[in-house]
């Protein structure tokens, strides 16, 4: 099945998130934070990953709302620091990063383009499934579906470790949750 023939199913909360950005009166700030990448996966931004939820102004303070991927994700502190640094570099000295847990983050918020970036980076993307393993998990290097699970957990909480049976490449799979 080609990417174009698939009807994109957008979860309601992701639709809301995209609308918050589209309707925002602060488009330059959203664009600015597109420069903040996930520290463990530097090819995709916190927006593309679904972590960046909202941006608002309170007086002179920029209030940035983010949501963690996993409860204990150790990258969250780094992400908050990176956000503050990006804003400071653009002249916004005051910022507050708020953690919000609801709605719970889901890999179904990751855009098709970002999934493609993950694949190119060597990480098998989560796909649109939920709760375990992507239905059509493929080796990001050779595209083979002959893959096996090595460990339910990979280099970070959000990934599992697989190996390709054809090209022997070990690779990370972004777990769909």
């Amino acid at each position: 099945m080609s990417v174009t023939s698939r009807i994109p199913l957008l979860p309601a909360e992701e639709h809301e998130r995209r609308r918050r950005r589209a309707d925002s009166t602060l488009p330059s700030l959203w664009a600015l934070l597109d420069e903040v990448k996930d520290p463990e996966i530097p090819v995709i931004s916190i927006w593309e990953l679904g972590i960046l939820q909202d941006i608002a102004m309170r007086g002179d303070t920029v209030v940035v709302t983010i949501t963690p991927t996993y409860s204990g994700c150790p990258a969250m502190d780094t992400i908050a620091e990176d956000i503050a640094a990006a804003l400071a570099a653009a002249g916004y000295a005051d910022c507050e990063v708020v953690n919000r847990f609801s709605p719970a983050w889901s890999t179904s918020w990751i855009t098709e383009e970002a999934q493609e970036k993950l694949r190119a980076y060597g990480i098998a993307p989560p796909g649109q499934g939920c709760g375990g393993t992507a239905a059509q998990l493929q080796c990001p290097r050779c595209g083979s579906s002959n893959v096996r699970s090595i460990s339910e957990f990979g280099s970070t909480a959000c990934k599992a470790l697989y190996q390709c049976g054809d090209c022997a490449e070990p690779f990370d799979h972004f777990k769909p949750i």
Partner: protein, 255 residues
Amino acid sequence: MPDMNAKEGITKYAVRLGDDALILGHRLSEWCSSAPFLEEDLALTNVALDFIGRARMFYSYAAELTGGDCTEDSFAYLRDCRDFTNLLIHELPRGDFAFTMARQYLVDEYNMRYMERLLDSADETLAAIAAKAIKESRYHLRRSRDWVVRLGDGTDESRTRLQSAIEDLWGYTPEMFEMDELETGLADAGIAVDSAALKAGWESAVRATLAEATIELPEGDWAVRGGRQGMHTESLGHLLSDLQFMQRAYPGLQW
């Protein structure tokens, strides 16, 4: 934000759930760099992180309800044994790998059902934490169940170890389904989970898994209880001396 009457009860309840998560997370973290093999090391510590993250969410909420100078760290680092209200099963020493996975399995089957119910809590924050935790618990369960079956129908050695782990743990499971005044009151208000109602489903799932793992269900009905009232096994103090050392020795220390 709940009204003043409910506030104190919800704070205690959130601390209980935070204690469960923190203590189990710490036990799992003790495997760091000493798991049977590298992938298991990563897996155990990743699960530990999930639980420590869960503890932070519950404690942060309790701190917010408490107000003043109270933070998540006040709960984790500045209370003594008798103030901790975790279920006892979480504090038992990590034991061997079979013991760790057997406990994890029993607790994962419980947590999955518990968080599914907490999703419907009238308290929005607790429901939001549950929505986050349920996804992780489902994943944890898939792995721990797999290990229980694998160890059970594996070698004689692995089966013997798993059988003995289940026997040692069994008496700590009744407590998971016992309600006290606080939780009953909160459950009636639609806030807390009625854990007693989870027992039948939990037990039939555990029976099925243990049968598949060729493990015999322990006989007898010994039960140890008291965690929710701050009555602990001798293991918790040792655990806290490790967990709290830095904050006790260097109060207010930050990374």
